[in-house]
């Protein structure tokens, strides 16, 4: 995977990131197990997965906010530096000014006893040596920018005087205070109503465009991910099991978990007279992973091999990768969507890697039918990049 060097230098590169916690019995659990990811400059990466998949811990590890006895290993490369090797004093300056986070619950991310102006000003002063007065007026500007009406007056309000959506705007203003390159948004709209959610996502998008931010959006909501992101990474049991550009991903999924997850979503187009194709069973706990593929016990396509052999990521070309023993065959069934047709998945996005779809062309190794039509799966790939 490290061999695949993207055309544009990523602003953040994560290699072999693991998070471990000791357990009482003297053992350890590893809820994040060797995550690799690249966030392109100006890119919008969606890290999707269910609770317990390790996505929030990944975010905290990127911010270096995992506290002992938790241990983080791997490399977090930003501006040629490994953030994991920075002394905490330097990391404090990185946090906010280079990499900032928008948290899920705005009420607990804000201090109830200080005015929001004071809290934003504090974030401004953490990043830049400016006077209190300057920081205060910057706070008003930021509030204005995130769409808080009457910012000059509201700056002296307390968090409880704001609605949930307005509070989340305040949290976004705080994240912007240090003019970071990278914003990690961890379920930023999960606590919000659907109409408010739509507005906050829209705001995040326009701010990202205006400031050239690179955003990593962590969400369990595939609809939100489809709306906002350029690239999708699916996390399961502490690993990224599939990655693809957003059109390729929603066109079809190679990893059986990604496919099952998507088809289990009860959307507005669900057939009401039929059961929803649910994923059987429960996700595994970090201390209790099955041998072999961690999805095998729930996978309807699993074989005996899946139960003993640990899969490694398979590069399928066009920026797609899946961690499944049968990734190549499964991708072969959708060959039309993988760059073979005129639709050409990799063309989407801003200068994404245009790798040759090597393995996507390989003939299937098993007796599965290679001639299954891709059935319009490639249609989506040609659309898009028309985001306003």
């Amino acid at each position: 995977m490290t061999s695949d060097v993207p055309a544009s230098e990523p602003v953040l590169s994560v290699r072999d990131l693991s998070v471990r916690f000791p357990t009482r019995g003297g053992g350890a659990i590893t809820p994040v197990r060797g995550v690799d990811l690249d966030l392109r400059r100006g890119g919008r990466l969606g890290l999707v997965g269910e609770s317990g998949s390790g996505k929030s811990l990944t975010a905290l590890a990127l911010m270096r906010l995992i506290r002992p006895p938790g241990r983080v290993s791997g490399r977090l490369l930003m501006h040629g530096r490994n953030l994991l090797e920075l002394p905490e004093r330097q990391m404090v300056r990185y946090r906010g000014s280079r990499i900032a986070m928008v948290y899920q619950n705005p009420m607990s991310a804000l201090n109830p006893v200080y005015t929001i102006g004071r809290q934003i000003a504090e974030a401004v002063r953490m990043a830049k040596p400016v006077s209190r007065r300057q920081a205060h007026s910057r706070a008003i500007e930021l509030l204005d920018e995130v769409g808080v009406p009457a910012a000059a007056r509201r700056v002296d309000s307390y968090p409880h005087e704001f609605s949930g959506g307005m509070r989340q705007r305040v949290v976004i203003a705080m994240a912007l205070a240090g003019e970071p390159d990278v914003v990690i948004a961890d379920e930023p709209t999960t606590a919000l109503d659907v109409t408010t959610q739509a507005r906050v996502i829209e705001l995040l998008g326009s701010l990202a465009d205006r400031h050239g931010l690179s955003v990593m959006l962590i969400t369990h909501d595939l609809g939100v991910a489809a709306t906002f992101c350029d690239d999708i990474h699916v996390m399961y049991a502490g690993r990224i099991v599939e990655r693809a550009d957003v059109h390729g991903f929603f066109g079809h999924q190679v990893h059986p978990y990604a496919e099952a997850l998507l088809s289990s979503v009860c959307g507005l187009d669900a057939r009401v007279d039929e059961p929803i194709p649910a994923v059987p069973g429960q996700p595994p706990l970090p201390g209790n992973l099955p041998p072999g593929c961690s999805f095998a016990p729930r996978c309807t396509a699993s074989t005996e091999r899946c139960c003993v052999e640990v899969p490694v990521p398979v590069d399928l070309g066009g920026g797609r990768e899946a961690e499944c023993l049968y990734a190549t065959q499964r991708a072969g069934q959708h060959a039309g969507a993988l760059g073979l047709g005129p639709a050409g998945g990799p063309a989407v996005g801003q200068g994404g890697p245009v790798a040759a779809p090597e393995s996507g062309l390989d003939p299937p190794e098993t007796d599965e039918d290679p001639g299954k039509p891709a059935s319009g799966a490639g249609l989506h790939a040609s659309e898009g990049s028309g985001r306003g």
């Binding site: 109409t195 429960q282 985001r387």
Partner: protein
């Protein structure tokens, strides 16, 4: 058409404003009927009054004005004692699967409690019924001796459902019953709820902020906005031709897992 199981007539519920000067009109003149065997969906955002309506339907709260009839009997203003025999016919499944179960009790005790309170079953009969119920909600018999913290959110929600249907109620109110469980498990629970409805002839009130879930589950849907029922229609009608502006904005805000449609969105 069969007679309505539940009738809500001009329900009003006001709460005192924190300042003490004004009132919060949590529910503001809401009327609807629920037919036996159907799923009545109530959709709205936080603060729209959907939980207050649910509580009024169950007689857990009293309306400021208006009334609720259950099976022809007016339950509004009824004393808790007189309400009790009716209680077994109406049950509720709550949002937070862990918080709604007593963590000091085993699954068998949790599901067995309504049986102990309302049914004349002996202990061994209750145990047998608990096992039946576990089977019905798709949990293996060994779950009977487990505690809530030993189970996942989806498993806890199955226990909550087993408890709700233990007394063979006629009405089950599902208040954001799948909002807190993961997507892959959510589908399992929705399928289970539909199966149980078919098998047991249950009437559901499906309360949710998620329009897609309400659509999937409900035969008829009421849209609540600021305490008022701004639209009430059959599922098909509501989605084919939403009349109220709020319904339309609610529909437009639902994120769709299709990036091809987002040019018009973000």
């Amino acid at each position: 058409m069969a007679e309505s199981l539940v009738v809500a007539e001009h329900l009003v519920r006001h709460f005192p404003d924190p300042s003490g000067k004004d009132v919060v009109r949590a529910v503001d003149d809401v009327s609807f009927e629920i037919r036996p065997g159907e799923t009545f969906g109530l959709v709205g955002e936080s603060g729209s009054g959907k939980s207050t309506v649910s509580r009024l339907l169950l007689g857990l709260d009293q309306p400021t004005r208006g009334l609720v009839r259950f099976d022809g009997i007016e339950i509004s203003g009824m004393s808790q004692r007189r309400l009790r025999p009716l209680r077994r016919q109406m049950q509720m499944v709550f949002q937070d699967p862990h918080a709604s179960l007593n963590r000091r009790k085993t699954v068998a005790q949790i599901i067995g409690l309504p049986l102990a309170v309302h049914s004349g079953l002996s202990r061994s009969e209750r145990d047998r019924r608990v096992r039946q119920l576990l089977d019905l909600v798709g949990l293996r018999p060994e779950f009977a001796s487990r505690y809530p913290h030993e189970m996942s959110g989806g498993q806890c929600q199955r226990v909550g459902i087993a408890r709700a249907i233990a007394l063979e109620p006629r009405l089950v109110i599902l208040d954001e019953a799948v909002s807190a469980v993961d997507v892959s498990v959510q589908a399992q629970i929705l399928n289970l709820l539909k199966d149980l409805q078919r098998q047991l002839g249950l009437t559901y009130v499906f309360v949710s902020h998620d329009l897609a879930l309400v659509r999937y589950m409900s035969d008829r849907i009421g849209v609540l906005y600021h305490g008022q029922l701004v639209e009430l229609a059959d599922r098909h009608e509501l989605f084919a031709e939403p009349r109220h502006e709020y319904t339309r904005s609610l529909l437009a805000a639902v994120p769709v897992a299709d990036p091809g449609r987002r040019a018009t969105r973000v």
